[in-house]
Symmetry: D2
Subunit: 354 residues, 4 copies
């Protein structure tokens, strides 16, 4: 790869993650004067360009953001405009189909969809991809790095393709990784992850379940035993499907994920040892806030790129609860994507994220 121009591009800027990407990139201190090239979602497109602030009025500011346009995607723009990183905020199928071509164009790709997160075909099966040419997709898959900086900082820095993690997966993996590395969990007893997410996680398309009348004043569980993020923690944590249960719930709030993770420890453990285990693991991770015995809450992490972690230990010193909170559109999507971009550009990973 050549020396980066630091020209970014966002494909699919019309959705919630797209709006957050636009906001973060427009205000990124090391990208001053270099607005991203904005493209709409390919499937929504017509020939006309639209002002960015028509799609997202909250992005209008006094510095000329009113003149920014969202254009229909065209391949030529990538080279003409010197784009070197493309953020894909597109549906899974779209990302699966496009990424090989994008890589051929020499750009680096940070894909926010689930298209390239899973190494093993059986885990990918949930997406029902219909790959046109499996030689190509297999080769592309091998290039993909799972974009969780706290686990794969170095590989991210040097790859051409980052598969940005799922929002739930980020919370589950960050809650468990330190305990897994130290082999503290009695896996025979099973891990229970009871997760709750705000409505933005369901996307911008109006459906019966995103209707205010359905979501407000309600709580519901969904995708029991078959959520499509499941493969991510199985692969990243080397878990077997029978060792972990994951149940997502729909919260009546706009954004935020709260994962309550229950594990049984192999042996009686003092709280200080738990504290040290997490503290040490995340010592070099500026975007994880370890709360120790103070439990995190959604209100403190929402609209930030932090994943907040805390714990409570039963009097028997065997049963442990880890709570992970994050903003599903930031640490769970657009913020983490920018964190990955920072790593790819050799910048401090928290740049533009505080």
């Amino acid at each position: 790869m050549t020396f980066p121009t630091h020209q970014t591009s966002v494909v699919g800027v019309s959705g919630y993650a797209g709006a957050e990407l636009a906001r973060l990139l427009l205000h990124h201190p090391l990208l001053r004067g270099r607005a991203p090239v904005f493209f709409g979602r390919p499937e929504e497109e017509n020939d006309a360009s639209t002002p960015l602030t028509d799609l997202h009025p909250q992005l209008a500011d006094a510095n000329g953001s009113k003149n920014l346009m969202v254009e229909p995607f065209h391949w030529k723009a990538l080279s003409e405009r010197g784009v070197d990183v493309v953020f894909l905020a597109t549906p899974h199928e779209q990302s699966r189909a496009w990424v090989p071509q994008l890589l051929n164009h020499g750009v680096r790709v940070i894909d926010l969809s689930g298209a390239w997160r899973l190494e093993h075909a059986e885990n990918r099966a949930v997406y029902k991809f219909e790959d046109a040419d499996s030689t190509v997709t297999d080769a592309t898959q091998r290039k993909a790095v799972y974009g969780l900086p706290e686990l794969h900082r170095q590989q991210i820095a040097s790859t051409q393709l980052v598969a940005n993690p799922g929002c739930y997966a980020t919370s589950v993996i960050l809650a468990l990784a330190p305990l897994m590395r130290e082999k503290r969990i009695d896996l025979d007893r099973g891990i229970v992850c009871d997760a709750k997410s705000g409505v933005s996680g369901a996307g911008k398309t109006p459906t019966a379940k995103t209707h205010f009348m359905y979501a407000a004043d309600n709580l519901s569980a969904y995708s029991l035993f078959n959520h499509r993020h499941t493969g991510e923690w199985l692969e990243q944590l080397n878990l077997h499907a029978n060792e972990i249960i994951f149940t997502p719930h729909l919260l009546p709030i706009p954004r935020g994920i709260f994962s309550t993770v229950y594990v049984t420890l192999r042996e009686q453990t003092e709280p200080e040892a738990i504290d040290a285990c997490f503290h040490d693991f995340y010592a070099g991770s500026p975007m994880v806030r370890w709360f120790g015995a103070r439990l995190p809450e959604i209100q403190h992490c929402v609209r930030t790129n932090y994943c907040d972690l805390g714990f409570a230990l039963a009097p028997d010193k065997r049963r442990l609860i880890v709570v992970a909170c994050l903003d599903n559109l930031l640490k769970g999507a657009a913020g983490q994507a920018v964190q990955n971009m920072n790593l790819m550009f050799g910048w401090p990973e928290q740049e533009g994220l505080e």
Copy 2:
């Protein structure tokens, strides 16, 4: 008309007003043992029947409601099942097209849509009805009684067709009617009605504006100077369009309407006179609660069929604010429809509504 069998039917039970109608009719003390005949929305229909509790799980009870079916509409059912009152919770166009035929079948109709509320063609224009045969629709329109019991109790009792009022219109008309009858308002100064409604008023179809992410944590105004309920207060209160401004806002709550109505009185008036004006007007109206100088709030009327009214008078004793609160799905729709049914059957109008 023949002696009523008290067999009711609801067409379009799948929506929010439909669900409330089903609940009210199933629990109506004078309709015991006589469940309504439930039909779906004609435009949603296929050939199969659906259990009512699949559409509305909250209606399941220990008394066999699980066996109630929602059937595809068919004309024969009306006579075979001895239906004498049909509630239409259908789109405006549907009601406009069907009501003449329903009247020909000899049933009485309570139409919850806007199809028959407006006497004057210029007020109806907003609905853009394309009447197939204006002789028929004109004749039908002349039969229609505007179903606001507090104004038209007697005509409702004897008509074959009740046009159930709009939710906003109910609040505006009930707030102003006592003052208008006593000619207390200086109409040259103009009436301002600033109204706020919960999201159920926008219907069950998922749209960008009923998406939780749009409605929650937000407030927006819409339909400025052209809301389609406007004709209702113009006709019912004999107002000219220039004498009243109506601005609806979308509240981030499921249900409830709050109308803040500003008028200037012709002359200085003591609060006691305002109190007496409303108190006397609604003395025989069990479904209006006059709060006097205590202002109503949405929380107190929601899930009831009451319209709550209260007032505040400026120190100059000329400027008056009347607040009207109601539940848009009950006093603003299904509850008022049952109140009208009660009147048509010669029952106390609050029966089954407390």
Copy 3:
């Protein structure tokens, strides 16, 4: 006990459960014409009576509820007014101190507090009761029946003192009782109960945690490993503290409890067997709705007295999730109290609750 006069009384009508009790008793079909005697919370009292509808404007109706007064408590009123059932919606300490005297007055008591729910002193320790005379309190405790009709229908009918269950406890016990009776759970693997409750569960006193700014757009966990309802399921289900984890969370909704209960079955089990287990257990329980494989949601049970139950079984047929939903102010408090009253009066237990 003498033949009941069916004169009820509510002590502590000012809170949320008190308001629901008032509403249910005023509309109870078998209590027509016999309004409860309403008393305030002893600790809030002064000498004056207050109109009930000043405390709870939503209770105003056209049938004279405006004339109902909430009086300062006085013992004479119990005999003078012929009260035979007293509902206590008072703080735990108050109930602990008063009930022995109330029983001496010959009235029956349904206590909504935690004062008399727990048989074993070690479980009661969490309440830190300072009993003046342990002979008296021990004797009273022995009379108390845990007021969960689905488990103790017959004892409730004949006791003088019902200890109405905690809201969380009702959901947890009803979710587990059928499986426990059939000894299907592998208790060595541990039960995880992840519960979520609306804000009304925290009571009416304004605190930092019931402030709208804290609760809205947020989720938090609290009382980890030490919630005071814990003793209820330990005693009712014969569980050891190490066999079950309970984690409550504060939901940004007014009312409703959603408990996600994770168990491991002793052996592989077909879904049909789970279905039969619950179906049979609750066959005679009109206030439990068994949803089978359709998961309940808060929106369907809220403002009803039902506890809704459903399940999901993992592909391994060993790991089972049971979901229990109920309205914490109804099946979790006031509704269940009326259900208990119905049993005490020999009436159908769902009377006045649908």
Copy 4:
């Protein structure tokens, strides 16, 4: 005054506006490396210091904010630490008592309370100040500049005391100022301002009205005809009390103000003239976004320092609605305070606010 050190201080950092001030000042690009001196609310204080992130966990970041302390106020700190601007986020009475002393210490003050906003004693009467020495307070009052940059940019730059405007007042004044300057409003017809605010406007102290159960799913009106911000628009716009009605409502959202302002124009006016009137007035005001005929909504301005304005004109071209939206904690409080600080320091007024 001497050349500024740019050392800021916040007194009363524990409240909602205090938290926003802390956030804005900590991230202000021209205040790098110069954290504010944080003091608690004098009335809450004890002798100990508290970590800032204990009060506001959301402020924890990777750059050492964990070490910031909130200290008990002491006068010496002002000189020892070289403070030259003090933000007061304190109760009105506190600000009224302290500001004269602060000015004597040579610091500049931006007071967020209502203490110094009103020039005329009759408008201040609503606050019931008990000034110890009216010579001192009168002299101080004369120094105060009403801190609305869009009206008083130059005076703010050079004063020692800024009285930061009320949140409602900011929205009302910005909605009307352009029309008032061009004398377009028929004041005899009266101005109606129907305003709605999120719950944070009521402050952090838990009360019956800030309880989630009161505010959620509700709307209520309050302070009719006597809100204490009234004097601000009377003085700033030269209006008489009889010429404007202001009605605030409590919205079930955390933050945001939406003011619907109704005026009658002196003469028929084309929409283009309205557009030009506002466009020109705010041409040099970077923190006002003029939406023209597109109406603003709370969701687009919340968490920004913008006041968004838009309009709708009746077909009669005389009746005009102006909508103003802002975030009550930013443009309505802390953000505007920082905007004023920028002006006092000679910096671009939007610095650190986008």
